[in-house]
């Protein structure tokens, strides 16, 4: 059941004509060029507190000023390298390693861009479709910038709205891995993220995070409880489930280091036309994975202490 809901950015990328079904035969009106389509995007209504993705300024601002601020500044004492590699104008796909029972890496990367970048921009985080179907998460995740990892969503964000999108190609395989497997990157999905970026002709910014693994180590999984709660996994961490649901926030004070690497220009690699080239996408996906792994090793080798950095 849970496995069927696994999300890959490549999964749904079937155009309607191939998928068949109603309306398939009828001619579709021609799409206008990208600039015109961008101009036709809904205008921002200043009185609204939410945007069309369901992102709430109020909820996000509150979280940012309290929990995220505390963790970023005092608990994890986050250090950022290469912030200039995050483009300040166009759309870009940030690709990062992923860890932790309730992963702290995503909010820390978002906060790093808000704090350090010369042009702070909101970062959209792709999450599994699972969260849209689970009560509570379904309400909260979109409010803080989570967007379901559907290729059409990523395309609209990158190509039409030219936003920053964060993706964890390891997905759940990354967050559910045990403490002993820390900093060993899992498989990078089916390369769907590369395909999405190529289609949108957006830059890819490989990102490395050190510290998340030690801040929320997972020692084991309880399968029975996972099935009972309907969650995607039910981990045993130093504080969860012992302290109840809030035990998920019981992070250990590991030192966080975030490194943004040189952006990869997908236009140079062939852009939207090359998105069909499966071999190129697989190669690129593996290269990015190797690049992140290499940088992680380098960062780990330099680290003197897990807690002090």
């Amino acid at each position: 059941m849970a496995d069927e809901k696994r999300t890959s950015l490549a999964d749904h990328a079937v155009p309607a004509e191939e998928a068949g079904g109603a309306g398939a035969g009828q001619q579709l009106p021609e799409r206008r060029p990208a600039e015109v389509m961008r101009e036709l995007l809904p205008a921002i209504e200043p009185d609204r507190r939410l945007n069309d993705w369901g992102r709430s300024e109020r909820v996000e601002g509150f979280m940012d000023a309290t929990l995220v601020e505390f963790f970023y500044r005092y608990w994890f004492r986050t250090e950022v390298e290469g912030i200039d590699n995050v483009p300040s104008e166009s759309g870009a796909l940030l690709v990062s390693n992923h860890a932790g029972a309730l992963p702290p890496d995503a909010p820390m990367i978002a906060k790093a861009i808000r704090e350090e970048h010369p042009n702070p921009r909101p970062l959209y985080l792709t999450v599994e479709h699972f969260f849209k179907g689970y009560p509570g998460f379904s309400m909260l995740i979109p409010k803080v910038g989570g967007v379901a990892a559907h290729p059409a969503n990523v395309h609209r964000l990158l190509y039409d709205e030219r936003q920053l999108v964060l993706v964890f190609p390891e997905g759940r395989k990354g967050t559910e891995k045990l403490y002993r497997d820390r900093y060993r990157l899992r498989r990078f999905g089916r390369g769907g993220f590369v395909e999405a970026a190529m289609r949108a002709e957006a830059q890819i910014v490989p990102t490395c995070v050190v510290g998340a693994e030690e801040s929320a180590p997972i020692f084991g999984h309880v399968d029975v409880l996972r099935k009972l709660t309907g969650l995607i996994y039910f981990p045993i961490t130093p504080t969860f489930p012992w302290l109840g649901p809030f035990g998920m926030l019981g992070y250990l004070p590991a030192k966080f280091k975030i490194r943004f690497l040189e952006p990869i220009d997908t236009v140079e690699l062939g852009g939207a036309e090359a998105a069909e080239d499966k071999a190129l996408i697989q190669t690129l996906s593996q290269e990015i994975r190797a690049l992140i792994q290499e940088n992680l090793h380098e960062m780990l080798a330099k680290r003197k202490s897990v807690w002090l950095g």
């Binding site: 398939a24 009828q26 579709l28 009106p29 036709l40 009185d47 379901a148």
Partner: protein, 375 residues
């Protein structure tokens, strides 16, 4: 927006004689009223099996059931060049499943059959559909574009019927390439006059929500739908278009705007059973909306805007307009007069030599309060 005028699709001056199906439905009536103000339209014929519910000036009403042979005779006799099909049932509470199926699937097939044939005068076919076509599921994209299909097969009868009806229209479009066929998929409609699942829900003292869910929902104002149908009849290239206002709102935001209280009374598990029993208590939530209350739905409306159409209201403005009306309705209750169709009176007004017809359009309609499109 100045750039957009240059993008406007070529105006179709061929639209002269229009057939509106489902004249007694809300959309049929509103559209016929709007079309009456266009002087270049020579004839407006409305068909339905029941009497019209709106006052019409020059629209001719023919009572006919969905029999294709009779419809075909009307189409040929009146040399209809444009057929606008507004009759689709998009709310399962408005008709029993059997009636809805009969109307949506069999009715559509019959109307299409009436417009077929190499010597048919029909050149344009506009079909009003619904974004229920896309459904509402967990693994949906945040914005459906026109070429997307639903990720899972429909599980309510109404959605099945809508998909089937659209399929019939698409097949018709393929077989009749010289008929410009347009499908308009309208989002959930709001407005003071129209009766939809969401106008009803927002009028309840407490608006039911599914516990732990705050779906994204997009609306369109009733006037914009009427304008969109007109626009499709005159300006639009054939194809499928989403008709939905700018802005996707969270349900909590909507409830806030109308000043109601959110009642998260529907359980996240077994929602279907709970709405079933609520329906018996008078909280009428149609089955096809239940999934929408959980997962929500947004559509990409840029394609239709690209044809030069401009919406009068955003989703937020449509909600605010409705809430203004709801506040006023408490004061105005019982003051408006119901219209009943009297065949003798209508025929007298249309055909009697004693009636003076000096002020066309004085009875108004949606188009009376603004400049007519085009021409």
């Amino acid at each position: 927006m100045a750039r957009l005028t240059s993008l406007e699709a070529p105006r179709d001056t061929e639209t002269r004689r229009v057939l509106v199906t489902g004249l007694a439905t809300y959309w049929g009536g509103r559209l016929a009223q709007a079309l009456e103000s266009f002087e270049q339209i020579d004839a407006i014929i409305g068909v339905d099996s029941v009497d019209p519910t709106r006052e019409l000036e020059r629209t001719e009403y023919v009572r006919v059931t969905n029999q294709h042979s009779l419809l075909e005779r009307i189409v040929r006799a009146a040399e209809i060049d444009t057929v606008i099909d507004t009759r689709l049932v998009v709310n399962s509470l408005m008709a029993s499943p059997r009636v809805a199926h009969e109307n949506n699937v069999i009715g559509t097939m019959n109307i299409l059959a009436a417009c077929t044939g190499s010597d048919s005068p029909v050149r344009k076919f506009v079909f009003k559909s619904s974004t229920h076509y896309y459904g509402a599921e967990q693994d949906d994209p945040a914005f459906f574009t026109e070429e997307m299909t639903r990720p899972h097969p429909p599980h309510t009868g109404l959605e099945r019927d809508i998909v089937e009806a659209e399929q019939a229209v698409s097949e018709y479009a393929q077989r009749n390439p010289d008929v410009a066929t347009t499908i308009l998929r309208c989002a959930n409609v709001l407005g003071p006059d129209v009766d939809t699942a969401f106008t009803r829900m927002l009028q309840l003292p407490m608006v039911p929500m599914v516990l732990g869910f705050d779906p994204r929902i997009q609306f369109v104002h009733e006037d914009d739908v009427v304008h969109a149908l007109e626009h499709a009849a005159f300006h639009v290239a054939p194809g499928i278009y989403n008709v939905a206002a700018d802005g996707v709102l969270a349900l909590s935001e909507v409830i806030d705007l109308v000043g109601k209280v959110a009642a998260p009374v529907l359980p996240p598990w077994g929602t279907g059973i709970a709405t079933g029993s609520l329906r018996r208590l008078g909280f009428r939530i149609p089955v096809e909306v239940v999934n929408q209350l959980r997962f929500g739905r947004g559509v990409d409306n840029r394609l239709f805007k690209g044809t030069g159409f401009e919406y009068g209201y955003t989703s937020r403005e449509a909600v605010m307009k409705l809430s203004e009306h709801m506040r006023l309705a408490q004061v105005m209750r019982g003051t408006e007069q119901e219209y009943t169709y009297e065949r003798e009176v209508e025929e007298f007004l249309r055909w009697s030599p004693n009636v003076r017809r000096e002020h066309p359009g004085e009875r108004g309609g949606v188009a009376a309060d603004r400049e007519p499109l085009g021409f």
